[in-house]
């Protein structure tokens, strides 16, 4: 079907009304991206990257940016945070930095700023827009044109940031049909190490849209632990892209957790652009009701001796729909590539559905790549075994569901996050089926 012209026009109009100060140092980049978005339009299901996910609910509504952050008290945040006082925390409300809710700990060799003030001062942000693809990816183009605020993190060579940096994106929009466009950039120079956590949460039940992009540049031997936690409100639409570029011997350890939103799509992409570089991409999604959750990952092995490990797990109840598409490309020069991918899904209802599509494109001959995808139900034999030991049906189901998720959650190296997500899974599977996502 053709999409209404108005959807694209709406955002073009929004772009035209950006004030000059805000467009700031990224004026040209924004304009180019807006042109690209106008040319591309919202993707349709004919686009093979969107084959199982219809963005019609987004394309047929007109979302508007909220001009300034809704004011919130610190107490309203508590339930969404798993950080501790010694972490640096930047809180963005409705897309804008909320300084009174944020705290940045000074650390030698670490620069943490918010994008909006960097651009507003007319400043250029090196590497911004050079990693994520706004030329061919519509949502990245839209985000780039309309990007509001986010974190710009630079860690100097060989500096290790021991405490995680927590970026919290809260949606508290005062009116329905609001949108935010968070944009982050994380640059780790040679040998640097850091942990960055992105949390997306919604405080209101109205429908709203979040379109975020995070660009990551890892220098030689750098190591980034990146965790994304998506707990948007039940009526939310969420499209996020994490795009990394890795130099030799660098390591990206990524986890994407998705349990909120009516419709969510998370892209996690990396380019292993230096020999010896590696990535681990893990994730978990847990949905019920009429939720739709889509993950698309892309690992491009561009140089020899690169390694990737990927495990995504999904738990689906109700009439929910899960989509997983894991792409692994091995370029001709990427000999000795070692890649492993798996996607396992647990269906808790007859109406839940999963489309899982591993996609390996291998152009080198000396490679080791495996993948596997499963869609299953709770093991009846195990359930009987547990009941025969006195556990009631609910307890037995809860334990089995939890056990399904446990090994991938175990991979999260930041303990407070791991504990919080384990508790969230446990709370949600209580009673042996998924409760509706609540906020």
């Amino acid at each position: 079907m053709t999409q209404p012209e108005t959807a694209v026009d709406h955002y073009v109009g929004m772009f035209e009304s950006l004030d000059h100060a805000e467009a700031g140092g990224a004026g040209e980049l924004r304009r180019r991206a807006m042109d690209r978005f106008a040319g591309l339009g919202f993707p349709t299901m004919k686009n093979e990257d969107w084959h199982y996910t219809s963005v019609a609910p987004i394309a047929t509504r007109s979302f508007n940016r909220t001009g300034s952050p809704t004011s919130l008290s610190a107490g309203e945040l508590d339930q969404y945070l798993f950080d501790s006082p010694d972490w640096t925390r930047l809180v963005f409300v409705d897309g804008w930095l909320a300084p009174e809710l944020s705290s940045v700990h000074d650390h030698p060799g670490v620069q943490i700023s918010d994008l909006s003030s960097m651009l507003r001062e007319g400043g250029k942000v090196p590497q911004l827009g050079t990693i994520a693809d706004h030329e061919t990816v519509a949502f990245t183009a839209l985000n780039t044109a309309l990007m509001q605020d986010g974190a710009v993190i630079t860690v100097a060579g060989n500096v290790e940031v021991a405490q995680p940096i927590h970026l919290v994106f809260l949606s508290a929009h005062p009116v329905p049909q609001a949108a935010s466009f968070p944009r982050n950039l994380v640059v780790l120079e040679k040998g640097a190490r850091a942990t960055v956590i992105e949390s997306y949460v919604g405080l209101r039940d109205e429908s709203y849209l979040t379109v975020s992009v995070t660009e990551i540049a890892l220098g030689e031997g750098a190591r980034l632990e990146h965790i994304k936690v998506q707990n948007e409100s039940a009526g939310a639409f969420h499209v996020a892209t994490i795009q990394a570029r890795q130099e030799r011997d660098s390591d990206l350890h990524s986890f994407s957790y998705a349990s909120g939103a009516e419709l969510s799509r998370t892209n996690v992409n990396t380019l292993l652009d230096g020999s010896g570089s590696s990535c681990t991409m893990n994730g978990m999604y847990m949905v019920s009701g009429s939720q739709h959750v889509d993950h698309q990952t892309s690992i491009e092995h561009a140089q020899p001796n690169t390694t990737s490990r990927e495990i995504y797990k999904g738990i689906l109840d109700g009439h929910s729909h899960g989509v997983f598409n894991g792409k692994v490309y091995v370029r001709p020069e990427a000999q000795k590539t070692d890649g492993k991918q798996s996607n396992n899904n647990l269906l808790l209802s007859d109406h839940a559905r999963v489309d899982t599509k591993p996609q390996l494109e291998i152009f080198a001959d000396d490679v080791k790549c495996t993948h596997g995808a499963t869609v299953g139900r709770l093991d009846e034999v195990a359930l009987f075994y547990m009941k025969s030991r006195g556990l009631d049906a609910e307890q037995a189901r809860t334990l089995l569901i939890y056990a399904f998720a446990a090994d991938v959650l175990e991979e999260i190296t930041v303990k407070p996050v791991k504990d919080a997500l384990e508790a969230a899974v446990f709370a949600r599977v209580r009673g042996g089926k998924l409760e509706m996502a609540s906020d």
């Binding site: 075994y385 025969s388 030991r389 334990l399 446990a406």
Partner: protein
Amino acid sequence: MLEIKGLRANIGENEILKGIDLTVNKGEIHAVMGPNGSGKSTLAQVIAGHPAYEVTAGSVTYDGQDLLDMEPEERAQAGIFLAFQYPVEIPGVTNAYFLRSAYNAVRKARGEEEVDPLEFLDVMEEKMKLVDMDPSMLNRSVNAGFSGGEKKRNEIVQLAVLNPRLAILDETDSGLDIDALRIVADGVNKLRTPEKSAIVVTHYQRLLNYIVPDFVHVLAGGRIVKSGGKELALELEEHGYDWIQNEQSAAGAGSRA
């Protein structure tokens, strides 16, 4: 304690149990022997409440209650325990967590206080010694990657923790070497009291040297074809199951004549 009358059970279209009568009183140990495929595990699983088996006729009462009307967990909570012939692997659930959940579920049903992880550790240490099990298994997933012998011993650890009134051991001896067999049998014997009963399902007489039964029943073709005292097990050992089957068909021929 347990009274089985005219029990018939199907799996799918196939009738496996074709009229079983068996009464187990308090304090008694009954051995159920028989060739492979005769329905021994089916009988055990039906008593435990496996949903795949359909009971088509007969009754099973346990302490005067209609057992067939109870959920598997209610049976466990009421003191019935089945040591599985093929214990089930549950990746991702630790033995410690599983055992404590089971222990607390059974205690709760009996109106007793639930215990916390620390208290439970004390309970566990004692029970694991009983079957010479390494405490490190507590942190491993239930039966996952266990050897055949470890799985069987783990069943006995669970038995010891849950302390049932009616224990059913389904070929707990198969796959155990003689030392392990002795350890398991010793463990079971230590749990014996005059209040408790057991049904010991086995293909071989060997285990019955250690767990001495009061009665021996031979199951063949879904029926108990012969019952006797412990000496019946020895006769079977000597003559094999063919002996019973021949005797049966001879008796059948005689009655028709």
